[in-house]
């Protein structure tokens, strides 16, 4: 009886895994960047903030990719790709349109879907600037043949990833907000803070981030580069979260990597020294406005 149950379990797993689609057609899209608004310098700043945490390699000091140590083991061994201008191992073959499609939907030019890549709410200006930077001759994206490693999802990983589907490509993005709270929300969304600081990155609402379960309440179990378990902190302004954090303490933690208790902010949390003071204030005020969640994370 036990053997039959095990065999049935495997059969269900194989069927479900087989049904999980991870490759999609990219289709032809119409992408006409407004060249007047393109700023490579701003594109570089935004790319370092958004793409850098996963794609920056500290040995080669460029965007040639990295092992993602923080990905739970049951998902598999995952590598952030080389996104330098290299033709074979990088993204040198991508057209501007294909890059726009990749960033908005998370689908590569070969049809591979990467759910954590998608930024459907990224403004047109930021998207254009980032693409202008990725196509530039900047040292961060100078062709590098390095192959960071081969991503190998487990059957469970494929199944989990298969549950999220790419969103349709939106020809027109949003405007970048000027209002402080809206800018804070925009940054928490596009810097993917809510991916890790919510209940689970496996159930994200990428269109309406605040509808994600346990939004910014932390508690998700990740791993650092030594395989130690790291639970993401609660970033809501509850007494179990940031309620007694000053703006200065918040700024120090996210720009210098040192927290209120004078301890370092552990990987996988990146540091963001490129954020402006205005952006940090916006994020702080926005987090203050998020409904507080009681979640003591240890």
């Amino acid at each position: 009886m036990q053997h039959i149950r095990t065999a049935l379990g495997f059969l269900v797993l194989i069927l479900v895994t087989g049904a999980c689609k991870l490759v999609y057609h990219t289709g032809n899209i119409d992408y006409h960047p407004n060249r007047e608004y393109q700023s490579i310098a701003e594109g570089k700043r935004m790319a370092v903030l958004i793409c850098g945490p996963c794609h920056f390699n500290s040995s080669s000091k460029d965007f040639s990719g990295n092992r993602m140590y923080d990905v739970p083991r049951f998902i598999g061994k995952v590598y952030a790709s080389n996104i330098t201008q290299e033709m074979e191992s990088g993204i040198g073959k991508y057209t501007h349109a294909e890059l726009a499609y990749l960033i908005r939907t998370g689908v590569s030019r070969t049809g591979k879907f990467m759910p954590f890549m998608q930024r459907p709410n990224l403004s047109d200006t930021d998207l254009e600037n980032i693409i202008a930077f990725l196509k530039s001759d900047d040292v961060l994206v100078k062709p590098n043949q390095r192959i960071p490693g081969k991503t190998d999802y487990t059957a469970v990983g494929k199944m989990v990833l298969g549950t999220s589907k790419p969103l349709p490509y939106a020809e027109k993005g949003n405007e970048k907000p000027n209002n402080k709270l809206a800018l804070g929300r925009y940054l928490i969304d596009n810097l993917a803070c809510f991916h890790c600081h919510s209940k689970s990155p496996l159930s994200l609402n990428v269109i309406h981030p605040e509808k994600t379960k346990g939004y910014m309440g932390g508690g998700f179990r990740m791993r650092d580069a030594a395989s130690n378990i790291v639970r993401t902190p609660n970033l809501t302004f509850h007494s179990t979260g940031l309620s007694d954090w000053t703006l200065e303490e918040f700024k120090r933690a996210i720009t210098q990597g040192i927290n209120k208790e004078n301890k370092i902010v552990r990987y996988p949390m990146p540091v963001f020294p490129e954020l402006t003071d205005e952006e940090i204030v916006a994020m702080y005020l926005y987090l203050k406005s998020v409904p507080p969640i009681k979640n003591e994370v240890k």
Partner: protein
């Protein structure tokens, strides 16, 4: 009989491995390793320096003093990703940590 011999030798091997893992590696500072762990260096650099940011290739052009300055304030050396430890680590802890870090570099393989 073979099983008995094998289990005996495995037992010996396990004891040897256990002993080796508890003994300090020549050239490495045990105290330094504790400090490495205490200040969460392993969070990025891995358990033995081979993590996300690899330390096992040695520190070319860095003597102990320069490495200490780097850890105290990496921003001065162009590293804006690593926290500055100047007000976090005590002087005596620094010395042990540097000794440990210097010992992490892979030893060159002897020829022949």
């Amino acid at each position: 009989m073979i099983g008995y011999i094998m289990s005996g030798s495995i037992g010996l091997w396990l004891t040897a491995i256990l002993l080796m893992s508890t003994l300090p590696v020549v050239g490495q500072s045990v105290e330094g390793k504790k400090i490495y762990r205490k200040f969460q260096c392993e969070s990025c650099h891995g358990k033995v320096g081979n993590g996300l940011v690899d330390l096992t290739n040695g520190f070319q052009n860095y003597n102990e003093q320069k490495l200490k300055q780097y850890i105290m304030n990496p921003g001065v050396f162009g590293n804006t990703r690593m926290p500055a430890f100047e007000n976090l680590i005590k002087e005596e802890e620094f010395n042990e940590l540097i000794r440990y870090l210097m010992g992490l570099a892979k030893k060159p393989r002897s020829k022949g």
